[in-house]
Symmetry: C2
């Protein structure tokens, strides 16, 4: 593997002078549709610190109440940091005001963070048209602001906004901004490709010029040309020692450079250690946890950490993977805490099905069995089912084909009603009748919608019979309207993620009616859980739990039936 060697960075240990700087909480939160509460920001910051980034840009104190409150809470004990420095973002002082007298500068000084990053104009067009001041005053604003905050004991970084366009327009002035910032005491001058239009082959000359000024240089890229990660790497190769980016590539427009991709490339491809030893293996877990907090779905195809990043579907690949997995992986997924996955699909062919079946602990060495399962999968996928995501439904299908699917319950009927009268709150209720272990269960359930109410009723029917099931929880629910033209009769597909606290499984339902499809996925979710529950119980021979289950079931059965009648009225 080729390595770029400069700035002592070929040293395999983490270069003290190299900064991994996360801007998720400030620049990242400007992504369309993203709204972070103060609690969200505190939780994300804590994950970033555990991951081991050197700096966490928390927001812009003074610009809005939410960010000010975030810094107050973060610096008063709610955000203990082990690896990272908390950074406050802001602007250089206003035109014609002393930095010491500028309220926004004061907000930075008093926010409790030890580090401030100031955005400064380095593009003459922006100085004149957006800032409406002279080039000299802009430099003075920069000099004054940095000097003041340094004298107040803060570490200071400068974000040189629109640096690359500015350099093209007036190279001397752009470099003068870099020099001024460095001379005033900025710890790094971060060259910002604010509109994201750069290409990697353009970075070298410009970054080298800034490094040539004698300033410590950083890089901040956006993905508008689809090259944010590559531009960041190109800047590092040209001497930048400070990289900014966001988890999951969050950010305005097309997003910021994905900090995880940048770090993974630096550690796994360049062989530099820029995070604390071993932390890169937490990348997938960290990015996923943060995606859950932001509630902005993180794409499955993110480099290194996406759920699809090491997933193999093509039959061609699958057969080779049986020989040697590393023939088809650029790195070992474990290095970033990810896994190699085999997908089941109508393109897969027997090879995947067999590998997948063996992974699940079933013997599919018999060609005709494997062929039968493959046929069944193709048939179902034609109807709109997908087993790429729904591993649990695939196992149920497999068990059915192999005659290994125990009947844990049989549904007689279900119904759900939602209504609202002007002025009153809406109501969703459901009734489910089923037979489990020979006992008829008949319950009503109420919920925040038809599917939720069906889930409640179903749980009330099953828990008396299988008490341990009470620990199961629906984690996610996804609906996809299937395009009629895509060769399937079904109109809607539902995916449900269920967890028992230890592990999560996914089931799929398909139908012309969204409730019907949801009901199928729901029932399969509990079927899968119950089958594994019963098998574990037997394997691990936990007699006590078995008895409990039996006893509770018996007593609860009568109660359950009676109470169901009561509540059904």
């Amino acid at each position: 593997m080729q390595r770029t060697e400069h700035h002592g960075c070929h040293d395999p240990h983490r270069p003290e002078t190299f900064h991994v700087y996360d801007v998720t909480l400030r620049d990242g939160s400007q992504q369309e549709g993203m709204q972070l509460s103060i609690n969200d920001k505190l939780r994300i910051a804590s994950y970033l610190d555990d991951f081991g980034v050197g700096f966490i840009e928390g927001g812009w104190p003074g610009s809005n109440p939410k960010d000010s409150e975030f810094f107050r809470r973060a610096t008063s004990g709610e955000l203990p940091l082990r690896n990272a420095e908390l950074v406050a973002f802001g602007m250089t002082r206003r035109v014609g005001v002393k930095a010491a007298d500028d309220p926004l500068i004061a907000a930075l000084r008093d926010c409790g963070a030890g580090v401030a990053t100031l955005v400064a104009k380095s593009h003459v067009g922006h100085v004149r048209e957006a800032l409406r001041t002279t080039l000299e005053e802009n430099l003075e604003m920069l000099r004054d602001s940095v000097t003041h905050l340094r004298s107040e004991g803060m570490r200071v970084f400068i974000d040189a906004e629109h640096f690359f366009d500015g350099y093209r327009l007036d190279r001397a002035y752009a470099l003068e901004v870099v020099r001024t910032a460095a001379e005033a005491g900025a710890e790094a001058v971060v060259l910002c490709d604010t509109n994201g239009g750069m290409l990697p082959s353009w970075m070298g000359e410009i970054v080298s010029a800034a490094v040539g000024v004698g300033a410590p240089v950083g890089i901040h890229c956006h993905n508008d040309s689809g090259c944010a990660v590559a531009n960041t790497l190109a800047a590092v190769e040209a001497g930048a020692m400070h990289v900014q980016g966001c988890v999951n590539g969050y950010g305005e427009r097309t997003g910021n450079a994905d900090i995880v991709s940048v770090v993974a490339n630096l550690e796994l491809k360049y062989g530099w250690q820029v995070l604390p030893e071993g932390n890169l293996a937490e990348a997938t877990r960290t990015a996923q946890a943060i995606a859950e907090i932001t509630n902005v779905p993180a794409g499955p195809r993110r480099a290194y950490i996406g759920t699809s990043a090491f997933a193999h579907k093509a039959g061609l690949h699958a057969s080779a993977i049986k020989v040697d997995p590393n023939l088809y992986q650029h790195v070992d997924p474990a290095r970033v805490g990810n896994d190699m996955r085999m997908l089941v699909s109508d393109m897969a062919g027997r090879a995947n099905i067999q590998i997948k079946g063996e992974q699940l602990g079933f013997d599919l060495s018999d060609r005709s069995t494997a062929a039968a399962v493959t046929e069944r999968v193709k048939e179902r996928e034609l109807q709109g089912y997908t087993y790429d995501a729904a591993d649990a439904s695939f196992e149920l299908l497999l068990r059915q084909e192999l005659g290994l699917l125990p009947e844990v319950f049989t549904v007689s009927h279900w119904t759900t009603t939602s209504y609202e009268n002007a002025g009153s709150d809406p109501v969703s209720e459901a009734v489910v009748k089923l037979v489990a272990q020979g006992r008829t269960q008949y319950f009503v359930g109420e919920g925040n919608g038809p599917v939720n109410s069906l889930d409640m009723a179903l749980r009330r029917c099953l828990i008396p019979v299988y008490p341990t099931m009470a620990g199961y929880e629906l984690q996610d629910y996804r609906v996809r309207i299937l395009d009629g033209s895509s060769g399937t009769e079904a109109s809607v597909r539902v995916l449900i993620d269920t967890t028992n606290g230890e592990r999560t499984w996914t089931t799929v339902g398909v139908g012309t009616n969204v409730i019907e499809a949801s009901w199928e996925a729901l029932c399969d979710a509990y079927r899968y859980g119950l089958i594994h529950l019963l098998e574990n119980r037997v394997e691990s021979g936990e007699e006590r739990r078995l008895e409990d289950a039996g006893r509770t079931a018996d007593t609860t059965n009568t109660d359950g039936t009676r109470s169901s009648v009561d509540s059904a009225v």
Copy 2:
């Protein structure tokens, strides 16, 4: 702007020798969760041809019935091509069989396409472990296969699989594969970064070495390092004259190079014309249409063509954009058929709200009005509403604040029930009672789920009063479960896209109950449509339609009320 000049490509006209080669229908369709029917593939190919790519890889005839059928239909009149050549993908002949006798080679020869692309091993490890043959036989398979298909009158490309890893392991052999392919008559030898692990700074040396052999070289990249587009550009700078990629960056694992980003960078940043004149402006429309066919949601943050690619949210930017939009855009969005959008959000501040309001034709110059609207937006977003996407709901909010929201209908109550008895089909029905233009409307509706049935009932209530509304259609329906911890009380957010055939608008609903939230978005969708319908009618003074509406409404009213009673029974 810097330009890369070689191979005469500084010629601003489309270099005859440069190939834009799309692999969406073959490599792209291996993406997790993607399933394309034959009709899907025919429709996508037609969009790609209109867009102006030079080559469309349609699939692998002979490997599965679907692909064989695709080529049969495509080459028998169902896929007239104006710009592109249809390409059939396959492998070099089997070990120890003459190419002329290999059924898979025959399938390529007989599929009706004029061009074949054969994947060949160029990595000694893959030859030995996956192919299980000798290095010499691998070269012979390549030579024999190319020679045979050329002699049958086909143009032939070679995909040199795992070329970059192969080069690192045994450079001489990897280059021997390139030489053999070129000598046998391959029109381009496409260097494939099959596992996607390359970085841009590593491409130059290796691609140059392949070009040095004297072969016409192509490039095929995957995004596993987050650098697929940049790697493709680096290869082009090193002399590759044939680029492969997928629309929307579709593909296995992390996807293939996004062909639109590659082409847009080549045309707008390098100044080469690689598509027919003017076609790049169709990029956004083309990628969106294809995303609708694949039914795999295309991310809003795709470079150049995503709905967010030129969307501005931050108040900081917004105020500067009022001065000059190009200060914050790397290219004019119109060049790729995209638009600059202002987003409304709690981070936006008054500047965005004012610009947005003016775009919608409302006067918000009065600071206090703008402030009041901004306050209301922040308040609603705290409850879980989002106006980034829901422009129509924002206009309704704006109208309410400005006292310009006419009452088009008032709902008295709604109810919806879904049920299924073992063995029978599921049923969803709804009842809606409302008052529109002083008339009580009371109808039942049946649908493929609770929301659909409510929509049907609502339409039956409104169409008698507003007949032209019959043309409205629900286009998309999206549900988001809101994370309780994200500082909002609401539990679910629904977004609905509605179209009248000419334009589409989006509304948002929020509530603790998914049906309640859906109902809110549904009603606002029709409110918005009706308000614009009524205004247009008055503006364009279409008296006839006005009378019709009145007359139909009157007659339908009694019928409507009566029939509604009948059907409600």
